[in-house]
């Protein structure tokens, strides 16, 4: 394992150095975009997600419901992130009459609706099954 780790270390250092050397001519313009991701995530996104999670945990006490709502929120956030470049085109983007070639806002809205409808359906079915099992247990003499 020691040899494998050492090999990974050497290869990793070499590849990182090569990438850094390739990036050197554009370092000035890329730096804000390199640093921006982790700063935004660590200082803003992650704390907000944590606080949101705590609040959600207080509001929704049923474990199953909480898990599915959290999953729905994670999926919605991912879809929104992927949609950002499609919904927001800064003026620096060159004109391309082929783009946008479909209605992305409507597509996103439909996608999110389908997602949440599926989650509601799953929760309704799960709750009904749960209630039936409980009823059968309590009805037993």
């Amino acid at each position: 394992m020691r040899a494998v780790r050492l090999l990974l270390l050497v290869l990793g250092a070499a590849a990182t150095a090569y990438g850094g050397w390739l990036l050197l001519p554009q370092l000035g313009t890329t730096l804000p975009w390199l640093i921006g991701g982790p700063v935004l995530h660590d200082v803003l996104v992650a704390p907000l997600v944590g606080l949101g999670g705590l609040a959600l945990g207080r509001l929704v006490t049923n474990r199953l419901r909480l898990a599915w709502i959290a999953a729905g929120l994670m999926a919605s956030a991912t879809l929104l992130l992927i949609a950002v470049p499609l919904l927001w085109r800064p003026p620096s983007a060159p004109p391309n009459p082929g783009l946008p070639d479909r209605n992305y806002p409507v597509g996103l809205a439909v996608g999110l609706t389908v997602l949440w409808a599926a989650i509601v359906l799953i929760l309704v079915v799960a709750t009904t099954v749960d209630r039936r099992v409980t009823d059968r247990r309590t009805n037993r003499p």
Partner: protein
């Protein structure tokens, strides 16, 4: 009870999703996604800037369509996986450095720096890639070279990270997620093992949803399913267009002639001459570097037949030049394998119609298994290289 606000410590985070068992598994899956993305990206780079030892096959005709589809979709899948992984290891951000022990401090610093490089580079690749597929460039750098350089940073930083974390990761991956019944009975209440599994299942599920929401750019039967596919297969004459004739400032001269040049010879022919030569129809995809792809029926003269007819040597690389005077993709070089492929056409028609100006009228190059940017439009000149 009023507590003084303070910076959190790792022990403050009690959710089961912060367990190394979760982080190691997410790391493994993210490693697979990044590995696929890096490998296919490297292929695409070499196809466009081939080093001497590199050769790219002409068959199957959809090969580049598949590799570049894998490139963009593995990148899309990596977005939720990266966020889940960062969430899982977020408490580690607050580990206090061992200030009084110089050796441990330097190891700690080295690990922090390698992780910082990894996270910076990973975010950069996913964000710039996502904007590039939408053909939006809200930055001052040149996307292809920056995306390529930072890809090496990601690859190197991933290897460094694995080198540092290998013992922890191996131990975590060797520990089953499902806690033993005895342990569960001993600690009733919160079922940590099922919460860990739920977090992992959700992460993978969301990655799947993200892929499904975008895969329509390249998978024909998902075209109508994917709401966020950045390109559909529609467009003028059934195929999308990236660069229009107006954007490339193309004006086809009325006396347009195709020029064929080779060492020791030259031949020109008019559009009527070209149209009179034997034609061939082939179904070939336009597979863009942005991951979208769509097939069409192209009709035209096979380049190898054209060269033979003109008396030029065949089986050598051919430089194809456009009427476009500036622009990065005004010319491309057909490698020898593609130049001798009977499916490499100088197309005059698309799906039974004459090429529209935006599709490259009077004629365009279309070859199997190549990036769309190398399928030169508005062709003016073929030069057989040595």
């Amino acid at each position: 009870m009023i507590r003084r606000p303070r910076l959190p410590v790792p022990e403050d985070f009690t959710a089961p999703s912060h367990s190394p068992l979760v982080a190691a598994r997410l790391g493994l899956w993210l490693g697979v996604a990044f590995g696929l993305c890096f490998g296919t990206g490297l292929l695409s780079h070499y196809i466009q800037h081939p080093p001497g030892w590199f050769a790219w096959p002409t068959r199957p005709v959809n090969l580049y369509r598949v590799t570049q589809g894998v490139h963009v979709l593995s990148g899309v899948a990596a977005i939720p996986l990266l966020l889940a992984k960062l969430w899982s290891v977020y408490p580690r951000l607050f580990v206090r450095p061992p200030v009084r022990q110089p050796i441990r401090l330097s190891v700690h610093a080295l690990e922090r720096v390698s992780v910082l490089v990894l996270v910076c580079a990973a975010f950069f690749e996913l964000v710039t890639g996502l904007f590039n597929v939408a053909q939006s460039y809200p930055w001052g750098f040149f996307f292809p070279t920056a995306h390529y350089a930072v890809a090496w940073l990601v690859a190197g930083a991933v290897l460094l990270h694995v080198a540092v974390k290998l013992p922890v990761a191996r131990a975590a991956l060797g520990t089953p997620l499902r806690g033993r019944t005895a342990a569960r009975a001993a600690a009733p209440g919160r079922d940590e093992s099922s919460e860990r599994r739920a977090f992992l299942r959700t992460s993978v599920g969301v990655a799947g949803i993200a892929v499904l929401a975008t895969a329509g750019v390249t998978v024909p039967w998902l075209r109508r399913v994917s709401p966020l596919a950045w390109r559909s297969a529609s467009g003028p004459q059934g195929i999308p267009i990236n660069r229009t004739a107006a954007a490339a400032r193309i004006a086809v001269p009325p006396d347009w002639r195709l020029e064929i040049v080779w060492p020791g010879g030259r031949h020109t022919l008019s559009l009527a001459d070209l149209a009179a030569l034997p034609h061939r129809t082939a179904e070939l995809p336009i597979a863009c570097v942005e991951g979208w792809s769509a097939s069409a029926h192209w009709t035209g003269v096979p380049v190898v037949e054209l060269l033979r007819w003109a008396g030029a040597p065949t089986g050598r690389p051919v430089r194809v030049t456009s009427l476009e005077t500036d622009g990065l993709y005004a010319a491309s070089t057909l490698p020898a394998a593609h130049a001798r492929d009977p499916l490499t056409l100088l197309a005059l028609r698309i799906n039974g119609e004459q090429l529209s100006p935006d599709h490259g009228y009077p004629c365009r190059l279309i070859a199997a298994s190549r990036p769309g940017v190398l399928q030169t439009k508005w062709v003016a000149r073929l030069e057989v290289l040595r």
